[in-house]
């Protein structure tokens, strides 16, 4: 496929191409769209700074409790499977690539590819959250494993099933919960519940951000379909991209802190 020059795209709007781009004019209180773009970008970076600061509180709590209760943290992180964490890291990294690619395709007016990339990004986000809930949160919290979970082969089967056999119960595995909810019987350190408090708070808030990011990208996707972006105006796509990269970046910090350091 070749790129179509801007003006042609607008005037033809014919056979194959569904999306046509209408040249964007700046909002009335900006002098021109370049300044508007700069303004929006500055605003977005400030917003990202607030997100970093939000998570910095969690990192701070992590550091302090790790120093206070090193053994509890070592035990806690040993229950996490680095392969799930690593897989999710790769998923997010790929999605960051496709997000960036979609901006490029919008600039080149290859709208079908842009849309495909955006949907793929959303899919990656969904996969990330799904893995988190199905293979990480659920078994640890309750002892119920999804039947496809490879970890099942390591544990003696208690025989209990739920949801028509979709979930298998492993005795004594669950109960790794935060704070007072903690009921895991085999912990060897009295403060392990604090590890889980930090773990669930940090990853839970991060997962919420992934969901918000997916919503944002979907909104951008709809706008791309309506032909609101093009070679000289792609603000929304770029901003959603910045947000998505930040969410990715935070995971890049959370992954080693939670999964790799013991």
């Amino acid at each position: 496929m070749t790129t179509v020059p801007i003006h042609d795209a607008a005037s033809h709007g014919t056979t194959k191409k569904v999306v046509t781009w209408r040249e964007y004019k700046a909002a009335q209180h900006f002098r021109n769209k370049e300044e508007e773009f700069d303004g929006v970008k500055l605003g977005m970076w400030l917003f990202l700074a607030t997100e970093v600061l939000l998570f910095s509180g969690l990192f701070c709590a992590y550091t302090i409790f790790r120093l206070l209760y090193p053994q509890a943290f070592a035990n806690g992180s040993s229950y996490l499977d680095w392969r799930w964490g690593g897989f999710n890291t790769v998923v997010l990294l790929i999605s960051s690539y496709t997000m960036a690619a979609s901006i490029r395709w919008v600039q080149l007016q290859q709208y079908a590819r842009a849309q495909a990339n955006l949907l793929f990004t959303i899919g990656c986000g969904g996969l990330f959250v799904l893995i988190k809930f199905l293979f990480e949160y659920t078994p640890k919290w309750s002892g119920w494993f999804f039947f496809l979970d490879p970890a099942l082969s390591h544990y003696p089967d208690s025989g209990q099933r739920a949801l028509g056999g979709l979930f298998h119960f492993v005795d004594g595995y669950g109960g790794k919960r935060p704070g007072e909810l903690f009921s895991y019987a085999f912990s060897s350190d009295p403060y392990e519940h604090l590890w889980w408090s930090v773990y669930y708070s940090a990853t839970g808030i991060h997962a919420t951000h992934v969901l918000i990011g997916m919503g944002l990208i979907f909104w951008v996707y709809l706008r791309v379909r309506k032909g609101m972006y093009g070679p000289t105006h792609y603000t929304g796509v770029e901003m959603a991209g910045l947000y998505w990269h930040l969410v990715d970046l935070i995971w890049i910090f959370l992954f080693p802190l939670l999964y790799l350091i013991h």
């Binding site: 209180h29 509180g57 704070g179």
Partner: protein, 613 residues
């Protein structure tokens, strides 16, 4: 060279003769609306005009100020009498209890009700009144105008912040209606995570603070981008009015400090809902961590409160003393300096709960804050010196501010000194200190700013004499209320108690009487404003003789503020070289207007060569 007022008319493009409302332009005032009541309400509810949003914030803030004020009067009334014997009960407790339908003569319960009333007062005043007061209400209205822009950078986000503010306030009110919260506005753990454990209202209150913080982040972010990107041609950073500088510094603080309270409050909510134990010593958590997080936000936030107050004084003093501000650059840098240092001193709220080394370091750093603060006070006094001061209501408020804020700032120093703070901490001395800075500083400046810009905002003058009289009533009431509290504090009266030993009764009673006087003062100001709206004289374009851009346009402004993009040719305070635009001494509502005019004319003619181009 063309005569100066002509030139102003050309460069600004607004009516420069003493334009009464600019009737000869086709574009109407931002206040005018077509259609019936429903259409008007809809128009306001969906507006993205920064001026209307400013007015909407103003109304919301004033309403919350009223509620917070009623709670304060209830607290003070309670303190007229100590609870002399345990069976007697706490009056506000009983009163609130019966109001909420949980009648009780049990003293502990009643004390708890007292705690709820002062928490309600503190939380409303801090989160719903002072933080949004100047930036969100007056800032929204004037920041774009002062830099020559049509609107803030993100008008829709601006409207969204207002709705978020309202949502947060609704949660706060909900928490109160469900029975109130007795944690104090500081939400210290582990008390806040355990009190009323079976109830949701603490969660609602904390959620309210979280949501309000979000609103404040978005407003701050909006202003930072606005100031960076939308300044009119010719307005460099150091040509900006100082109001803009100070609100800019405030906005940076809001953006950088609020997320930390965001995560803190979220963790607090988790703590209450799931008992995660991060702040709970019973589970190995660290309650002092909460204090660190809380004050890491809440100390900068006291500057979020005071910087905008200073911002207003920066405008009032030069305009009403008709003199160039003293030390413009040092003022701008002092705002930024205060913002920077304020991130390093949070530990001074925790001298009794942190380590000795930390306390020493935080004490030393705290003294640093006093330096840029003092620079500002000196500059204001320097501006007044040999100025031609008009005793207008805004000027009266500015002088009150100088007096009260200086006391408030200076009493911060004994609190920053470790050895004295050990005695003064959690006493009425602290209460008096922060009321002198927050109320005597920010609220007084806010009301002063309202008087300064009222004619511009609503196109009406008010009765100057009445306004000044009520200002003085407030001044007297304020000092009677709070100076006594310094004395109470040094004598050992702890804060947040419904009862006290008999020796303190006289001082408490004086303080309570003072609070009634204050109430009269504020009610009076409200009456002055209402009278102005109903029967006030039409405001001229430039009643006080100011030079900043808002005085170049009609009162009230048109929807787009300017008829064409303004080009800035003179500094905001060049009173020695520029004749105020659209200014007519006949309009000037002070006795010495003619002398002022003559002085201006002389100055303008002798200095014409020094104008900035």
């Amino acid at each position: 060279m063309a005569s100066i007022d002509n030139r102003n008319a050309n460069t600004i493009g607004a009516a420069a003769g003493h334009g009464h409302g600019g009737g000869h332009h086709d574009e109407g005032s931002y206040l005018s609306s077509r259609g019936g009541l429903i259409a008007t309400i809809w128009d306001w509810a969906t507006t993205i005009d920064h001026k209307k949003i400013g007015v909407m914030y103003l109304s919301a803030v004033l309403m919350m100020f009223f509620f917070g004020g009623v709670a304060a009067l209830a607290v003070r009334t309670e303190l007229l009498e100590p609870v002399r014997n345990p069976s007697e009960g706490v009056v506000t407790g009983q009163w609130l209890g019966s109001f909420l339908g949980v009648e009780s003569t049990n003293i502990a319960k009643n004390n708890q009700h007292y705690n709820r009333v002062f928490t309600l007062h503190g939380a409303i005043m801090v989160f719903m009144v002072i933080i949004p007061s100047v930036p969100a209400a007056l800032g929204n209205f004037f920041i774009p105008i002062l830099i020559g822009a049509k609107d803030v950078a993100f008008p829709r986000l601006n409207l969204l912040s207002w709705y978020i503010y309202v949502t947060g306030s609704i949660f706060g009110v909900l928490a109160i209606l469900l029975g109130g919260v007795d944690t104090g506005w500081t939400f210290y753990t582990p008390y806040s995570t355990t009190t009323d454990a079976d109830q949701m209202r603490v969660v609602y209150m904390v959620l309210a603070a979280f949501i309000l913080g979000f609103s404040s982040i978005l407003t701050g972010l909006n202003f930072v981008v606005t100031v960076h990107k939308l300044r009119a041609p010719g307005m460099g950073w150091f040509d900006m009015p100082l109001f803009v500088w100070a609100v800019y510094a405030t906005s940076i603080l809001q953006v950088l400090a609020t997320p930390v309270i965001g995560i803190t409050l979220l963790l607090l909510i988790f703590e209450r809902l799931f008992r995660v134990g991060i702040f709970d010593p019973g589970l190995g958590g660290d309650p002092v961590l909460f204090q660190h997080f809380f004050w890491f936000y809440s100390h900068p936030v006291v500057y979020v409160m005071i910087l905008p107050g200073m911002a207003i004084i920066n405008e009032i003093i030069p305009v009403h003393a008709h003199k160039k501000i003293f030390g413009y650059r040092s003022m701008a840098f002092a705002s930024l300096g205060i913002a920077a240092v304020s991130f390093l001193v949070w530990g001074h709220h925790m001298f009794t709960s942190e380590g000795e080394l930390a306390a020493t370091v935080f004490s030393a750093l705290t003294f640093l804050v006093a330096v840029p603060t003092a620079v500002k006070v000196f500059n204001w006094v320097g501006t007044l010196y040999k100025g031609s001061i008009s005793m207008t209501p805004p000027m009266v408020y500015a002088l009150m501010f100088l007096f009260l804020f200086t006391i408030g700032g200076l009493t911060g120093l004994p609190l920053a000194t470790l050895s004295t703070d050990m005695h003064l901490h959690d006493s009425y001395f602290v209460v008096a200190h922060f009321h002198y800075v927050m109320m005597g500083g920010t609220i007084i400046a806010f009301v002063g700013g309202l008087h300064h810009w009222w004619p511009k905002m609503f196109g009406r003058m008010y009765n100057n004499r009445a306004a000044i009289i009520f200002a003085l009533v407030q001044f007297v009431g304020f000092n009677v209320t709070f100076f006594t509290q310094f004395v109470l504090g040094t004598r050992g009266m702890p804060r947040r108690y419904a009862s006290y030993v008999d020796e303190f009764q006289l001082l408490h009673q004086i303080s309570t009487v003072g609070s009634y006087i204050l109430a009269v003062g504020f009610t009076g100001s409200l009456a002055v404003f209402v009278h102005s709206l109903l029967a006030g004289k039409k405001a001229p374009q430039n009643p006080w003789g100011g030079l900043t851009l808002e005085w170049h346009i009609e009162s009230p402004p048109t929807t787009h503020n300017f008829h064409k993009e303004p080009i800035v040719h003179h500094g905001p305070y060049d009173f020695d070289t520029v004749l105020p635009p659209g200014w007519d001494p006949e309009d000037y509502p002070v006795p010495n207007a003619r002398e002022q005019a003559a002085a201006y004319a002389r100055a303008a003619h002798s200095h014409v060569g020094h104008e900035k181009h």
